[in-house]
Structure formats: C-alpha cells, structure tokens
C-alpha cells in the first residue's frame, strides 16, 4: 500500500474519522494547559511587564500563519503533479485557518507593539512581508470563490500559492536579509546560544506551540472533510440533473 492511497477521498474519510478525535482531544488539552499556564502562572518580565504574556499567542500563531502557507504550497504541488483531489481540497481548507492565525498574529503583535515600540504598527520588513502574506490569503480565497470549475480553481490557486510563497519566506527570513527593523529575529530555535529565552517562559511557550499546531491540524482535517463532502454533494446533484 503506497502513501498515495490516503489521497483517495474514501480512504481519507475513513482515516481522518479515526484520527480526528485524538487530535482534537490533544489540541484541546495542550491549548488549555499552555494558555492557562502562560496567562496565570508566569511572572512579569522585568522589561516588558505583563505584556510578555502575549508571547504565548503571538509567536505560535505567527509561526503557524507561515507554516500554513507552506502546507498549502506542498498540497498544491501534490495536486499539480499527481492530481489528487484531496490535496487540492486540503489546501483550500487550510486557507481560512491560516488567515485567522495571521489575523491573530497581526492583532496581538499590534497590541504588543503599542507598549513595546510605542506604535501599533511599523513598516518594518518582516511586518510588511507578513501583511502582504495576509493579503495573499485573501486573494487566494477570493480566487477559489471566483472560479466555478473546481479543477480550474485548484490549478489557478496552486499557481498563485507558488508565487505567494515568496512572501511567506520573506516574512520569516526578511530580518536576516535586511538586518534592520524593530521586530526581533528568531530566538526560539536558538536555545543554548547567548541570550536564550528564560525557561519560565520557554516551557509554556512550547506547550502553546504544540497546541496551536494540533489545533491547525484538527481544523484542517475537519474542513477538508467538509470540502470533500461538498464536492461529492455537487457531483451527486449534477448526476441527478443529467440523469
């Protein structure tokens, strides 16, 4: 049995039905634990005061906003190469989730920026690239909406997704390219180097990140199932009409 069999809608429905409850449960647990820990049980930072608590939302959602686009890119490429309908629908299903995470990261970043940088918003490279990514999410969803034929829509959005990936990459690495701007560089992945993040924040942050990853997976699975059913529904209706 090859991996590609999971791209068969029927198989996907079966497997996802079994996996979903587990993912939902784990996501709920880790999110509850992480967020409660982060909000109630962490000390204030000596510089940032209580705003440091925003990190537990901002960082996971910002990461997932970019990762969601990467996932859509992979799914789109699978669709373009192997033409598995499920992967195209998974990409479609992920977009609203990614957009919501992007919006959350933008809003929490703005609330954090007001006390930290003295401004809600700054036109710094990472922030700018991230905002463009948000616009790409909008454009991607609008394109899916606007095209009638599902295969055509899948092809066109896949092409758009590939082009938009430039900005997903930029919003992660723009700081490295330009080395300017207000927003900080990656610190999460640099544990053990100089100036690491304090463990009191690190552990709950990791729990939150895991929680948001699982939440993303759960939502995408749920939405993909809905998309598959919707496709089947329209196929049945069309057959009914033609009969």
């Amino acid at each position: 049995m090859s991996l590609w069999e999971y791209a068969n809608p029927k198989k996907f429905m079966q497997v996802s039905a079994r996996v979903l409850p587990v993912v939902i449960g784990l996501a709920g647990v880790s999110l509850t634990v992480g967020l409660i820990w982060g909000f109630f049980l962490t000390p204030d930072d000596f510089r940032q005061g209580s705003t440091v608590k925003i990190i537990f939302i901002h960082v996971p959602t910002a990461m997932m906003a970019i990762n969601a686009w990467v996932m859509m890119l992979v799914a789109s490429l699978i669709w373009l190469v192997r033409r598995h309908h499920v992967s195209a629908l998974a990409a479609r299903a992920a977009a609203p989730v990614g957009l919501t995470f992007t919006a959350i990261a933008l809003v929490t970043g703005a609330f954090w920026g007001q006390p930290m940088w003295g401004t809600w918003w700054a036109w710094d490279p990472r922030l700018t690239a991230f905002l463009i990514l948000a616009l790409f999410y909008l454009g991607y969803m609008a394109l899916w909406q606007a095209v009638d034929d599902p295969d055509t829509a899948a092809d066109l959005t896949a092409v758009l997704c590939m082009v938009g990936s430039v900005f997903a990459v930029l919003s992660r690495y723009a700081v490295k390219f330009w080395n300017q701007g207000l927003h900080q560089d990656s610190t999460i992945l640099k544990v053990g180097e100089a100036d690491p993040i304090a463990p009191a924040y690190y552990v709950p942050l990791v729990v939150c990140i895991i929680g948001f990853v699982l939440l993303f997976v759960a939502l995408v699975l749920l939405r993909t199932r809905t998309e598959i059913r919707a496709r089947r529904l329209s196929a049945l209706l069309a057959r009914e009409r033609l009969a």
Partner: protein, 206 residues
C-alpha cells in the same frame, strides 16, 4: 495525415458527457456531427482542438494541423475586415487574404470595420479566417448560424473546395448544409451513461 479519434470521453463542468466516441477522418472527407442540444458537441470539438483535456481515449492528429471556429469569431470590432484577416494570416504565416475575401463574398466590405457588420456578415468574416490559416483540418461549431440561404450555399462550396484540396472538415450543426457527400455521426448513442465525477468523489464513502 489523418484524424483518428479512439474511444474518446469528454467532460464539461467536471462531468463526463460523451464517451466511447471513435471515428477516423481521412483527407478529403467531411464528417457532420449531429445531436440534440446539450449532448456535448461543443465539448467534443474543444477537446479535439486541444483546448481541454480528454477524460479517456486518444485523439491522434499531426501537430498544428487543426483550426477551430466557434460561436465567438475572434474578430476585433475596431479593425476592418481586411485587417482582421491579415492579422490571422500573419499569425499563421500564410497569405491569401484577397482570395479568402473573394471566396466569402467580402470584397465589397473589405474596408468596413467589423463593428459595423450585420450578424451574417460577421459570420462570413469568421469563416473566411479558416482560409488564411493554411490548416488542413477544420473543426467547426455551428458555422452557419445567422447565414442566409445564399451564404450557406457559398460556404458549402468553400468547404467542398477545401476537401477537394485534400483538406478535412468536422462540422457540428443542426441545419442542413447541402454537403450531401459528407458522412453523418449522430452523437446521441454516445451519451455518457452514469456521469462520474473525477477523483473518486462519486463512490459512496461507507
């Protein structure tokens, strides 16, 4: 140089509409496609022209030997009759604009802008385009719409001359063209039985 269609299945809007269509078109032959509205004639012709992929089966034809004429004529309203034809002649790298106009009775209208033609005159111009493509296989979707009786006869003559020169023609039409020598293929029997959505969306998920 033959057009061979083998158990072709074509889809529109994600549903297979025709399946198992097979025929061979030899040089000098014409085939008339018939079938009720909505059976899939337009879909079949677009597939043959390479504008959309086939669901199953094969179409074998030498590359760049087909030309397609549909309801939309590809005419530019602000260009004159002659300029429109010259453009398509240049794209295909062949000449013959003057003869094409003469054959489709457009010479008097040569300096008229396409916007100022009547429905039938526009159609004649659209058909004259076929003559400046230099392509042997004509794929025509209801070519005589809006043409009066005299123009239909004129067009039948043009097709006959094309066939005599070794050309081929595949024509979907509801009315009689007066091309008695052409074979007729009724598409009714090829209607897809249970249209199936691609990607396995049709089988029940149990």
């Amino acid at each position: 140089m033959e057009l061979v269609v083998n158990t072709l299945a074509v889809a529109r809007g994600g549903l297979t509409v025709l399946e198992g269509v097979s025929f061979v078109l030899a040089p000098g032959a014409a085939l008339i496609l018939r079938g009720p509205n909505g059976v899939g004639k337009t879909t079949l012709l677009r597939t043959l022209a390479g504008l959309q992929p086939a669901v199953a089966g094969t179409v074998s034809v030498p590359p760049e030997s087909l030309t397609y004429a549909a309801h939309a004529d590809g005419l530019k309203a602000v260009l004159t009759v002659e300029e429109n034809l010259q453009f398509w002649a240049a794209i295909h790298g062949v000449g013959g604009v003057t003869e094409a106009m003469a054959q489709m009775n457009l010479t008097d209208l040569r300096a008229r802008r396409a916007a100022n033609l009547s429905a039938g005159q526009k159609r004649r111009l659209g058909l004259a385009r076929l003559l400046v493509t230099g392509r042997p296989v004509w794929v025509l979707d209801e070519p005589t719409v809006s043409l009066d009786v005299a123009s239909v006869a004129l067009f039948a003559g043009v097709v006959r001359a094309h066939l005599a020169g070794g050309g081929m023609a595949l024509i979907a039409t509801h009315i009689d063209l007066g091309l008695a020598e052409a074979a007729v293929l009724d598409l009714g029997p090829y209607k897809a039985k249970a249209p199936v959505a691609p990607g396995g969306f049709d089988e029940a998920f149990t």
